[in-house]
């Protein structure tokens, strides 16, 4: 197997591009893909200061490295979720990445700052852990980006993530979610600009990037994720990808090029409170408690904190077992 660019021994084959690369040229390929995505979707302009949501996993650390390499002065934000050992380790990887490279990592610990953690929030509210977690992270990320005057909030979603979400939303014809599935959402009405510059890279590629750049990341999975639908969708799509390389790219980028705009004006009959997901952005009012944009008087984050803060902490294993049983 030879590198497509220089002819040296290749370390990775990308069947969807019908190409093999040596370590150096693979790293360059990743940079070019991210640069092209940022330009094409006008995610960031030179000199802008992004805030990156950092989890300690491969995608967010690869994203941080790539943004810095591309010249963006990027700070990281890590939210301590209180998910037992998993969170302890994740924080350790995030901190070490930042300190080794002299980068600034802002930390918010749910237990210290708001007196709850994700397992306890899930148990006291009856929400699925990922739902309580997503709600908390979205709120804190948005808030930190706005309060810190960052130009954009960056997340490390990759092609597999986006294709799997698209697949799930399409299976259920969730038109309102499909309308919002874009790699860039403009700032406005109290929300920061949100961008996903990794959407052109698969997760195999972001993991390979970390290995080749010597980035140590948390390989272990969050115990709350075991067996969820998102993983099942990814595996199904990877099955298709093996049969027909390029399927995931076609599915996601085909949607953006040929479907997303048509959905823009499509009416939805969704009347539920979607402030959790930020799905409805027309006319939010400031939350009476924290001032974040929301659809009611008190935002869903503050309501979550009200219900769970100070509750008897629930250990992770109770929840992870329950999560598996209910999926």
């Amino acid at each position: 197997m030879k590198c497509r660019v220089c002819g040296d021994g290749a370390v990775i084959d990308l069947r969807r591009h019908n190409a093999n690369f040596c370590a150096d040229h693979f790293v360059r390929y990743c940079r070019q893909q991210v640069e092209r995505t940022i330009d094409q979707f006008e995610m960031l302009s030179p000199g802008e200061r992004p805030l990156l949501a950092v989890s300690g996993g491969k995608d967010s650390l690869a994203m941080w490295d790539l943004l810095v390499e591309l010249g963006y002065d990027t700070d990281g934000l890590y939210v301590g979720l209180g998910i037992g050992d998993y969170s302890d380790q994740a924080g350790h990887y995030a901190r070490r990445f930042a300190s080794d490279r002299g980068l600034r990592l802002v930390e918010v610990d749910l237990r210290q700052r708001y007196d709850y953690d994700i397992p306890t929030a899930a148990a006291t509210t009856g929400r699925v852990p990922c739902s309580a977690c997503g709600l908390s992270k979205r709120h804190l990320f948005d808030r930190a980006a706005v309060d810190g005057n960052y130009d954009a909030l960056v997340t490390g979603h990759n092609l597999d993530d986006e294709a799997a979400v698209l697949y799930g939303n399409t299976l259920r014809w969730q038109v309102d979610y499909l309308q919002r599935q874009r790699p860039v959402l403009p700032a406005g009405r109290g929300f920061p600009r949100k961008v996903k510059p990794l959407v052109r890279l698969t997760e195999r590629e972001t993991a390979a990037y970390c290995v080749l750049r010597g980035i140590d990341y948390l390989v272990d999975e969050c115990p709350m994720a075991a067996g969820n639908k998102h993983v099942a969708y990814k595996e199904a799509l990877n099955g298709l990808e093996v049969q027909s390389p390029g399927s995931k790219t076609e599915f996601y980028f085909g949607f953006l090029a040929r479907m997303a705009d048509r959905l823009e004006d499509e009416p939805t009959n969704d009347s539920s409170d979607t402030s959790d997901t930020g799905a409805r952005r027309d006319g939010p009012t400031p939350c009476g408690r924290c001032g974040s944009p929301c659809d009611g008087e008190i935002c869903s984050f503050c309501r979550l904190v009200d219900r769970t803060a100070g509750a008897e902490p629930v250990p992770v294993h109770v929840l992870s077992t329950r999560a598996k049983a209910t999926r």
Binding site: V11, C133, G134, G168, N169, A208, D220, C222, A225
Partner: protein, 74 residues
């Protein structure tokens, strides 16, 4: 050769030499879902693994997700 698998962590022994493709087939793994790592770098799919080699098979699928229908943030 020693094969280290993750999530959960475990070790298996295989008789080498063996190609990466064949090893993955025996483990019933999609090539798209894993990386093969040895001595700190990636091992390409057409490589032959030696009997005394130690390799890690690292899954690349992460499960971070919120309930279906909302944005993925994990």
């Amino acid at each position: 050769m020693k094969v280290i698998l993750r999530n959960p962590n475990r070790e298996l022994e295989f008789r080498g030499p063996m190609s990466v493709v064949k090893l993955l087939r025996q483990l019933e793994l999609h090539r798209e879902s894993v990386l093969v790592i040895s001595a700190g770098t990636l091992v390409p799919g057409d490589a032959i693994l030696a009997d005394d080699q130690e390799v890690e098979i690292r899954p690349v699928i992460s499960g971070g997700a919120v309930a279906v229908g909302t944005e993925v943030v994990g």
